[in-house]
Amino acid sequence: MVGMEEAWLIPAIPAAAFAVLLLVGKYLPRRGDWLAIGAVAASFVLFFPVLIDLLDEVDQPGFAGVSSGIDWVKFSLPTGPDFQLRLGFHVDQLAIVMLVVVSFVALMVQVYSTGYMKGDPRYGWYFAAMSLFVASMLTLVLADNFLLLYAAWEGVGFCSYLLIGFWHERRSAAEAAKKAFVTTRIGDVGLLIGIILLWREAGTFDISEIFEFAENGGYSAEYLTTAVLFLFAGAVGKSAQFPLHVWLPDAMEGPTPVSALIHAATMVVAGVYLVARMLPLFELADPVALNVVTALGLTTVMISATMGLVATDIKQVIAYSTINSLGLMMVALGSGSVTAAMLYLFAHGFFKALLFLSAGSVIHATERQEVSQLGGLAKRMPVTAAVFALGALSMAGIVPLSGFWAKDEILNVAGDHQNFVVYGFMMLSVFITALYMVRVVILTFLGEPRDRGAQEHAHDAEPAMTVPLLLLAALTVVAGFVTFDGVGEALGFPGGFGEFVFSEEPEAFHFPLDVAVLSTVAALAGLATAFYFWSGEAEPARRAAETFRPAYETLKRKYFVDEVYQWAIDRVVLVTGGVVAWFDRNVVNDTGVDGTAGLGVFTGFGMKFLETGKLPNYALAIVTGVIVLAIVFMVVRV
């Protein structure tokens, strides 16, 4: 019987599939796609016995999850405890929530990919890389120590690099992959420093031991604040928070199913998951730490939502909406609520994957992704249009879709724990989100087709692609109801989502009517405004862009952030590299090394003139020497 102790099997199966696919994949029938899908399906199935085992024990007082694992590296130190790095896995409620999102969405995406990627020359490699990603992501979720967490963290980043650059013949894809890896790597510098800082005092990498150490006052508040802010830098990179958000829109160069899995439902929420797990440390640290989380989260929400308004690529719009969602989750964490963040993460995984996959169906059918070349597709692709609209409305927070419940919970905690400025901006963002999400629905599916050529063969995709869409759509509708105690209990959980995720201090779901009404009004206002702006010929939108040209330009050029970075790379980083390389060649080598060598040659050259071979010269030297010595001795002696 598989229980929590055997949870390591969940990542191990896709990892084994990766190894097989890498080595012999091209000799397998269908290049082994069935193996990749079978592996992720097995992971998904194994989730259930693990969950049941957890539910058996979750009621016990003081339950904090179950760990198991083996030593990876271990040696003794002259003083203190052994140095130990473990391959350790830990199952608790947080991990369970992530597990189901990752394994289910991965399964849907893999099945979908058999249709989307059909005929690609690197079809087998695609499934191998996806398997490696799933294995790394599941490891990240289950890691019980910082070493394994960091390893998996880098692993998912690397898979993201491989898959963004999947069509590496395209210069833009190769560049986007590099940008994603390097940008997140900058955050990871902070993550690694934070991890080592935590280890330095506690002497262990084990997460629960570090918690215990911190609760017993092992760290000073300043030290802990520094450490958690370094950790947060990693989350900023991975979860595309301002100012490291620039890689995520470019990451849309990858195949669309990749965007759905990696850049929407799973990898990018790893930062949120990290902060959620580390929240006890953030709370022990100075309040400044959580305020930083809130501030960056809110900034991210506002800039991404506004940039989403002017983006013209269907995938880019969804990418901005993802950054927007990630910012919301960070605000929830900044307000101290794991429940709200995780509920949003849970719901978001389904509806965002749905949005990307249905956008993928559009791209697959029309080979266009600029909204200026789409339009009127609802008639040709009714199923795709319906599920896309469903996802968009969920993102916009329309009752009773899952996005509504999740977003309301965040607005709630923001209202309770933050000042009214934060709350006000959050409400504003609800309006803008509805505005741009409905905009993309209108521009893509309603009105008249703008590019007839693209429409000719457009139709709903084959079942391999449509069935995952329908399943995700169903979850988009119902996933939000898990907040209710009644639903949770009916499914065998101790209560609603908040009760389950936080068994020690249950955060009961509360539903203040004022927040719900206000957010619904904001969302509906956004929806109505979108119809006013963009339906038909979209004349009002054009006029607005004309009137507010500088603002429009600023949004179009993404607040100039990319340009500033590009400038810094060209003018600072590469120039520094050039200067150091020049210094090395001309100063260290040609002056220092060759100069020293030249000095020897020069001295030898000079000395050779002394050796004339003429006796009178030598006699003169001897006599001079004797006289000089005589004078020296006289002076010194007397």
């Binding site: 590296v73 040696f75 002259p78 998996a152 590496h168």
Partner: protein, 499 residues
Amino acid sequence: MDWVLFALIAIPAATVPVFMLIPSRYPQLVRNVAAGSGFAMFVLSVLVFVRYEFTGGSGLRFDLQLDWLENVAFLKENGITYHLAVDGISAPLVLLTGIVIFAGVFISWNIEHRNKDYFVLLFLLVSGVFGVFLSLDLFFLFFFYELAVLPMYLLIAVWGASSNFGTFTRTKEYGAMKLVLYLVGGSVLIFIGIFATFVEAGQGTFDLPVLGSVTYDETFQKTFFPFFALGFGVLAGLWPFHTWSPDGHVAAPTAVSMLHAGVLMKLGAFGILRVAITLFPEGAEFWAPVLMTLGVTGALYGAVSALAQRDLKYMVGYSSVSHMGFVLMGLATLTTIGVNGAVLQMFAHGVMTALMFAMVGAIYDQAHVRDMTVFGGLAQKTPRLAGFFAIAGLSSLGLPGLAGFVAEFHIFVGTFNTYPWAGALGILAAAITATYILRMLAMAFFGPFNERWAQLKEMRLGEQFGGALLIFFIAFMGIWPAPFIDRIADSVRAIPGLS
């Protein structure tokens, strides 16, 4: 099993006369003999590594001591002996040498010009390398050290390549001359240090275990630690005495670069650990901040310089300076974790940089240029070559699951314990590594295919075999480092003065 260490040094040395007896009209026979001998070394080095026993503390394994000179003049009992043994630190390095030379023979398969002489020098060099790792007598250690360095001169000057970079040129004679002069300059310091230690110890012997049992005067330690640290440090690419290394690589033929960066630079770091730190713990403590500063400077400086390079070999050369900076950082921590990491990094850097040079060579042999900007999209034409190169690069930027990560993680943890600022700068250097590696991959291998290289073919079978061998060990150490760390930690804990 005593014979195994003796055999490891003797096999390459004994192959040399065999090469000489083969008439030069049979180049293929030369290659076959080289492959056979390389295979024998590989098997024996694996054997030494695998059969290392964890019994009885941190002693020496396969100890073998043959008299050479004793009780004459200033020498007393066991004055100079042929003393060979392996411990947990040298075992992985012996394995590394076996791997790199075996792979290197296949990489050198296509050398047509005087291939007999080439292999004679290459095998002499390898014999010296094994000798340094295994010798426990300072006299023979020094002898083998010189034996490992001097063949370099001819190998580069005869089989190397001169390059014109537009604004400046580097001839192979210049590279060879600079390299050898630099290393000989380092040897002079070592030589002085050896005699000073011999006299100060007053034991009448050059035997390292005996010299190690003496407690040296603190002032003496502080004075003579730098002789060894700097002397060996030159070979380890210690900043600012590193410029022989990138220029040497650019001039050297492929397999020589592999051995040079992969193994030879480790001799320097190994010497610092085996001689300087082990004999002079107080001297080490006194000079550690300086060594740390130079190490971290080298790590950052090498990484930033690599960022500006367009020539593939220069990039890999500077990246070696950077990675050897990590090794020196690990040693300078004087902590168990840091020194373990330094030894791990010696192995990791050895295999991955050998792989990188092998792949640069595979491109250069066909394209005759190494400027990364003139390529583009090579991954479409030569996917295996691109994949191998990428694996080496990913290991060097510290991707978990590959060897570099394990080593760098230990070094950073150890450094943070003693010098947090240096640890932070080291992690920054690792992030810069990611930038130059990915930049190179994107320029040369990805993007639209440059039709100029339509004639380019996939690597030869020998190159694929050599590369696969190196990758196997990169992945092995990355996924399951315990066999390495167990051995290393077993001996590092015996080094005096580590915290």
